[in-house]
């Protein structure tokens, strides 16, 4: 791992960022629909969602690829961020809902007399935006503190994170939580006064997602270059040696876990206004495992891999669920198995892997020629 960012990486990164943030939305806004270069509103919305999922993948890679912790509950933090913003969006529907009431529709439906107290501050955007950060962060802090303190690691940690998201999923399905039960939140109208149905709003959300993705990338990239990043990788490779060298490995892991949770939470908050719905099925253990697939397919331990994995697998999913819905799970499961077994470093590592294989063949040939 190089400790400096090479010029090539800098240039490539800047070009990619420019393309994502400026060129694609520009093509959507300023080219006529008939033009071959035109990016449709539908595509902008779809790719905005993919970028949000890519943000989760970057956070997850920080955990898995760089610290060796597999979290099977990453979509829980994603959903928590989504719910935090969703509450604000629900309150901003105002009297435009089905029941023409100040309360969100599901509260009218369930017979709430007035807005529950913990909902009131979410009417303010700033509060909601802060909640997007601190709610997932706090949950991750509590869980991570308990887990790392008692040195739960490896597969046990993975299973416990899965149990965590499973429990949360069960909890969010209940109406008593005042968060909409199994229907969750939907039917949003405005964000910061802008109509969500307006293509310009969706374009802005796309741009925001792209900026967030690049910010997450830059943060993680920076982190890996610092001394912190070195300790992080040392924890991944041999935690005991790190402990014996006098580092509090638990603190490092806790920091990374919380950071990844916050990154996921922000992604969730950006995702919800673009899909227009958030419900507890987003917390089902299988969703978090899907996030693992993106990272595995893209290539963990590199930051660009997960982004490519998230974008690639999700485009494949969009296509396959349309073209052959019955066979999509077979495809996803099969792809995943093959990647895990035969290409542990993902698509990004595939070149190296093939190169190494060829190298070995060649050296075998030269060393003992066929008799």
């Amino acid at each position: 791992m190089k400790s400096q960012i090479s010029k090539r990486e800098l240039v490539l990164g800047l070009v990619a960022a420019f393309g994502l943030i400026v060129v694609i939305p520009g093509l959507n806004a300023f080219t006529p629909e008939s033009s071959p270069l035109h990016v449709s509103n539908f595509s902008i919305n779809l790719w905005g969602q993919y970028l949000c999922l890519a943000i989760v993948a970057v956070g997850l890679d920080l955990l898995w690829g760089y610290t060796g912790l597999i979290s099977l509950g990453q979509m829980l933090f994603f959903s928590l961020g989504g719910y935090a913003l969703g509450m604000h969006l629900m309150l901003k529907i105002g009297r435009l809902g089905q029941y023409k009431s100040d309360l969100p529709d599901f509260m009218v439906f369930l017979g709430y007399p007035k807005l529950p107290a913990h909902w009131v501050p979410f009417a303010e955007f700033w509060f909601s935006a802060l909640a997007v950060v601190w709610v997932p962060g706090l949950v991750a802090l509590l869980f991570g503190y308990l887990a790392f303190r008692s040195r739960i690691r490896g597969v046990y940690f993975s299973i416990l994170t899965q149990a965590l998201t499973y429990a949360a999923c069960l909890l969010f399905f209940r109406n008593e939580l005042t968060l909409g039960g199994n229907n969750g939140f939907t039917d949003f109208k405005t964000l910061l006064g802008f109509q969500l149905a307006d293509p310009a709003t969706q374009r802005s959300l796309y741009i925001a997602s792209a900026i967030a993705l690049i910010a997450a990338y830059v943060f993680c990239r920076w982190l890996t270059l610092t001394k912190f990043g070195k300790v992080q990788r040392a924890v991944r490779d041999s935690e005991n040696r790190v402990l014996f060298s006098g580092y509090a490995a638990a603190n490092y892991k806790l920091f990374v876990f919380v950071a990844a949770a916050i990154i996921s939470g922000v992604a969730g908050a950006l995702y919800v206004p673009q899909t227009g719905i958030i419900n507890p099925s987003q917390m089902e253990p299988s969703k978090s495992l899907e996030a693992i697939v993106w990272v595995a397919v893209g290539g963990r331990g590199t930051l660009i891999g997960p982004i490519l994995g998230a974008l690639g697998v999700n485009s494949l999913k969009s296509w396959a669920t349309q073209a052959m819905p019955a066979y999509w799970p077979l495809l996803l499961g099969g792809l995943f198995m093959i990647v895990v077994i035969f290409a542990p470093r993902g698509i990004v590592g595939l070149g190296n892997q093939v190169g190494a294989l060829l190298q070995r063949r060649k050296s075998e040939k030269t060393e003992d020629p066929a008799p």
Binding site: G154, I159, A163, S286, G333, M337, V340
Partner: protein, 595 residues
């Protein structure tokens, strides 16, 4: 053949109905008495004893009587009710009793029985089919008039039918009927109950009759009788009597000794209810724990002993469930299904669902489930897991991929809906121990789990294969150096663990649903059991499965909210692992990576 007495009695009864119409009740009573005497002395009917004759005669009398006195006459059947009357009483409830005017001019009540397409006409007085004078069976005449009912008569009919159960041949039916009667607390039923009690031989039915009599006596005028009835009910801690006793305890007009006795009886009953609820919850907890245990046992082998996280464990379990379904279909009429759009047909043996062979399909299904799941496990181990023994985290991911594939295969083969698996009749029903109801299928799962655990521990500790398994578990490379064929042992162990999962699936099919996603609902719980129990310990698995099952049930009953209970169990587990990070029972090891 008709008895001579009956021949005489019939016109007499008709006459008495006629007199009744004139509201001359004293004459009617005498005539009725005469009719009964005639009936009682008529002895020539071979298949009919005197009780039955008397009951039929009284019923005939009630039918032909004018409407105003019918319910009174029905009440008179109390005490002489005979089981032979049941179809006729029920027929009257449905207004299927008609009056047939015989050519001689007498009124004969008949019951119309519609069977499939044909109509049978039964005489109430003999229970035989109605015949013309020529001896051939009479044809149905739509002009015959039905005997009408009103609400009072229907009530009397219902009472009489309830009473009939007092004479039922099954002791538990008799006991239930006695309690039902007792709960009505009508003094009129006291003589019947007492006369039945004197004939009763079955101890539990006897106790029920005593309880019923005590219940009726709670309304007695005499405070001493009320007190002794309360003491009796307190001693037997009769649950159905609780409401009646509570009324007495709350009634401030009662004399002090009665209310004291009522309070004492109430307390005894409440204590009993508490214990029944408690043991019921513990029983359900243990049976839930046993389900978890069978599910988790396979996992304890593959995860605990081999360190392989098999996320497809739930799906392998469901392979066992589907195998049970297929065996059931083959025993029945076969199975038609359409995997991948192809239509396939597995022919069945076509046994009748009530036949003993069909009922025993489950015994065949158990080994089939074990073998099919073990075969699936074999393929999974050879195809996926053997590449990943050194990368446990990745075996978790790859097996998740496998579980996704398997779920979709189930969906494509068996359809997205749950498949219906019928339980054999012999595990339906329940055992009542001192008021605690134990379902046979729950008892069965407990016994089954115990047998499976016992068998597994024998296999691991007493067989050469078990020795090899344990050697490989402790140190794979060292075992390899000593000449243990580790890859073979791995495959066998994994297949065995999967076979156990298949057994769990076969059992689940008896108490729950089998569908493509069923495995997912059990997998998290099963992992919890293994993690809590301590990896690699069968004792730990048993204790933690029973513990989690019981705790889950207790929380569910006290909180009345299954989700909060589940969340609390998960939270409790995380807190527990703070103190014992490697579970209840963990193998002591100096290896840093394993600690």
């Amino acid at each position: 053949m008709e008895g001579v007495g009956v021949l005489f009695a019939r016109p007499l009864l008709c006459f008495c109905g006629f007199i009744n119409e004139m509201r001359n009740s004293s004459v009617s009573v005498i005539l009725r008495f005469l009719a009964v005497v005639f009936l009682a002395t008529g002895t020539s009917a071979p298949a009919m004893d005197q009780y039955e004759q008397r009951a039929r005669a009284l019923f005939v009398e009630a039918v032909v009587a004018p409407e105003s006195s019918q319910s009174l006459l029905l009440e008179n059947l109390v005490g002489s009710a005979h089981p032979c009357l049941e179809p006729f009483l029920q027929g009257w409830q449905r207004e299927q009793i008609f009056i047939y005017q015989s050519p001689e001019g007498s009124k004969i009540p008949i019951l119309k029985v519609e069977e499939n397409q044909s109509v049978r006409i039964l005489r109430v007085d003999t229970g035989e089919e109605l015949k013309e004078a020529s001896g051939s069976l009479a044809a149905w005449n739509p002009e015959w008039k039905a005997v009408e009912t009103n609400s009072k008569i229907r009530r009397s009919l219902k009472n009489t039918i309830d009473l009939l159960a007092l004479g039922s041949s099954s002791p538990s039916d008799r006991a239930a009927a006695a309690l039902k009667l007792g709960l009505k607390q009508s003094p009129a039923s006291l003589p019947v109950l007492e006369s039945r009690l004197s004939q009763e031989t079955n101890p539990s039915a006897k106790a029920a009759f005593l309880d019923a009599i005590a219940l009726v006596s709670l309304n007695s005028e005499n405070p001493d009788q009320r007190t002794s009835a309360l003491q009796r009910l307190g001693e037997s801690a009769s649950l159905p009597a609780r409401d009646a006793i509570k009324r007495l305890a709350d009634d401030s007009t009662q004399p002090p000794q009665v209310s004291r006795a009522a309070r004492e009886a109430l307390q005894t009953i409440d204590t009993r209810i508490f214990w029944i609820d408690f043991f019921g919850t513990v029983f359900r907890g243990i049976s839930l724990g046993s389900v978890l245990l069978i599910v988790a046992l396979g996992l304890a082998i593959t995860f605990g002993l081999m360190g392989v996280i098999n996320m497809a464990h739930g799906e392998i379990m469901i392979v066992g469930g589907y195998a049970t379904f297929v065996v059931q279909c083959v025993f029945g009429n076969g199975l038609a299904f359409a995997p991948f759009g192809l239509s396939m047909n597995i022919p069945g043996f076509g046994f009748d669902p009530s036949s003993a062979i069909y009922q025993s399909y489950f015994l065949v299904a158990l080994p089939v489930a074990f073998l099919s799941a073990a075969a699936t496990g074999y393929v999974l181990e050879r195809g996926v897991i053997r590449f990943l023994y050194r990368r446990p985290l990745e075996s978790l991911l790859a097996t998740w991929g496998a579980s996704l594939v398997m779920q979709q295969l189930f969906r494509l083969i068996f359809g997205p809906a749950n498949v219906p698996v019928a339980s054999p009749e012999w595990i339906n029903g329940s055992l009542n121990v001192e008021g605690v109801l134990m379902n046979y299928n729950r008892l069965f799962v407990i016994v089954f789990a115990a047998a499976v655990v016992f068998g597994t521990s024998l296999l691991l500790t007493k067989t050469p294969l078990g020795l090899l398994i344990r050697a490989v578990m402790q140190d794979r490379s060292m075992a390899g150096c000593m000449g243990v064929p580790t890859t073979k042992v791995n495959t066998l162990t994994f297949s065995f663990g999967c076979g156990l999962a298949g057994l769990a699936g076969a059992f689940l099919s008896q108490i729950g649903n089998i569908g493509p996603g069923t495995g997912q609902t059990y997998i998290v719980d099963a992992f919890m059991v293994v993690v809590l129990g301590g990896v690699g310990s069968l004792t730990g698995t048993v204790l933690s499965a029973l513990g989690i099952g019981t705790l889950d049930q207790i929380l569910q009953t006290t909180l009345r909210n299954p989700v909060i209970g589940k969340v609390l169990v998960l939270a409790g587990l995380i807190v527990f692992l703070q103190f014992k990070p490697s579970g209840l029972f963990s193998a002591k090891s100096r290896n840093l990576e394993e600690s």
